[in-house]
Each structure stands twice: as structure tokens, then as C-alpha cells.
Assembly symmetry: C2
Homo-oligomer: 177 residues x 2
Amino acid sequence: MALEHALLVALREQPASGLDLARRFGRSIGFFWSATHQQIYKVLGRMESDGWVEATEVSQSGKPDKKVYDVTPAGRAALAAWLAEPTPTHALRSDLAVKMRGASFGDREAVLDVVRANLADHHVRLDHYRQLMKRDYPDGSGALAGLDLDQYLVLRGGILTEETWVAWLTEYLEAHA
Amino acid sequence: MALEHALLVALREQPASGLDLARRFGRSIGFFWSATHQQIYKVLGRMESDGWVEATEVSQSGKPDKKVYDVTPAGRAALAAWLAEPTPTHALRSDLAVKMRGASFGDREAVLDVVRANLADHHVRLDHYRQLMKRDYPDGSGALAGLDLDQYLVLRGGILTEETWVAWLTEYLEAHA
DNA sequence: CATGCCTATGCAACGAGTTGCAATCCTCGG
DNA sequence: CCGAGGATTGCAACTCGTTGCATAGGCATG
């Protein structure tokens, strides 16, 4: 239900084509929200027929044309309304947690390998986020406000989340060492 | 894809009926994995026709009969195979993060209210988990092993996760104070 | 020119989960 | 007896997202 609104946020930050969005959702935004290009095209089409966004054909040199989407006033209103709605908090929902809990019912060493692989992945992500932080906010949050501050704070959330994963999986592995 | 395996883990811990499972998924297990009874019945039916579980009709005094499911050898093998598979890590996926990032495009004070409501909810969950921890593991993890240790460690993960949410949302609110 | 590769957009089929509703069995209170 | 209400199981329709594939333009290389 929220991909539409995530796309509205992304397009308000910067108008873009479907594939541009897919790339952004694979990078900075997408570390906190993922979506494939198929899903993005599908939702963009619905949003366009709902009048939330409108597309402009843009010619490119050396590449096929692309359709750059921008948010309409109706889309802005829909976004503002959604932003003010309460959001239910839903639980974690992690395959890995299920495997950790069920490790006794299979090959424990195999589960530990899965956990180790995930830990390595979370280390990579954490390093990546920290690099983004250093590159984009070398002076900390002091001078930020509005959109910049919000982007900073969401990146902070990503870092906190990855640190938690690292801590948790490390604790799991040490307890089973 | 993993509800089936989450159910296998739950049933290996303790055979149960569909509604029993729904209640457990609304409680201890479900703080890390949620599922409605409809979804559980649907998946249990498929698992039964796949030969992963088998049901026994059990009469109850004062209540309708119930079907208690237990895991078959084929189900045990399927669970063991799944446990050893690698698990891709997928990103956060949080409506609230999108709202925090997009707060500039709507009524910021309304978004802050949404964040405050979520913060209160995470405080409640954190308290709940800590009570579970105190009730079920008053002596810490020292003497635990196997299934008990795993259950403890997953609860630890829940606590770490909720602490992270509390820290993050608090930081967000203070930055916009 | 033919082939392969990248960009860009999109369709179709499927799987998973949610929401709303229904049916049955049982007990309890009036 | 009758109706209310909880327990138990389940169906149907819908939304959301994934996976696999298709189409087309343009470039580079052999």
C-alpha cells in the first residue's frame, strides 16, 4: 500500500523515469525500501491513471526515450493526506529469526553458516551507510533542516538498524561458539 | 514462502491446532512473525496435502472439536532442508521511515504525531519483551542450551530491535524539537 | 551487417498476505 | 426453548510483490 507513497516522496525529491526510480530504490532510498522495476512501472501506471503523477517524454542521446514522471497537485494532496495518517507498527518478519529459533530441528552448524553469511552482509551494508554518512554529512546533523535533516535522520536509522543486526547476530554466534 | 517453515518450527516446539497457532503467533512467536488465522488455516491445509503435517481430531469439553497438527518425517526433512538454505537479507521496509523522509511534503507536526504514536507503541513492546525476559529467563543465558538458548536469543533480538526503534524515533523527535 | 549488450518500458502468471464473511459446535443466561 | 456469544474451521475476493519473459531503440565489436 505504501509503494505509491514512497514513489511520491521520491518524485517530490526529484522527478524521474521508472528506471531512474528503480535505480534509486536499489541505492540510497532502497536500502530502506526495495522495489523491482516491474512493480514500479505497474504502480506508476496506476498512479498516472489516478492523476497523481504525469509523464513527459524525454529524448536522450544514445538511449531510448524515457518518460519522466512528476507529481501533480492531486498527487501532492494524496501524499500530504497519507503522511498525516497513523501508521500501524508491524513486527519484524525475518526468515533468519525463524531459522535461529528453529536451529535445533536441523543441522545447527548449517544454520550458523547462514547466520555468518547474513552477518557478513550486514557488515557490508553498515560500512556502506557509514560511507554515505561521511560523504554526504561530513559535519554531522548540526546545520541541517527540513528535507536534508530528514534524509540524514533516515540514514541514521539505517545505520542503527544495521548495527543492531550486527550486534544480535554476533551475540547469537558467540552464544553458540 | 516462510510461513510454512515458521509453522513447522512452531509445531515442532509443540503440536497445536490452527487457532492455537494463531494465538501463539499473536504472542511470543508472533512478535517476530505475525499471521492471521485465515492465512494459517490456508497454509496448514496445503502442508497437510503435501504430507508435511498430519492432523488428529481432538474432542474438547465445552468447545468444538479441534484438529491438532503434528509434523511428519517428510515435514521434518523439509524443515531441515530449509534451515540449511542461505537466506537473503532484505531491507527494512517501513512505512514510517518513508513518512519521516517525506515529512517536508506535508504537515510536519502531523508526521511528528505519527512518530510519537509509534514511539509509544515500541515502548510498550519493549516493556513487554523485558517482562518476558525476566519471567522466562531470570538467570540470564548462562545455563541455557539448544532450543531454550535459541528462544532466549530470539527474544534478545526482539529487545535489541525495539531498543533501536526507541532510540531512532527519539533521535528523530529531538532533532525536530 | 550480424551479434550481443545496455537502456527503457511493459505484460502475464504466480505466490503470499489481508479483509470480510460464513458455518458449525458448544455453553450459558433468560 | 431461544438467543447471545465464544471457539473453531474455513471460503472468497482482493491487493501487493516477485519471477519470468517480451519488445524496442541504440551502440559497439567482429
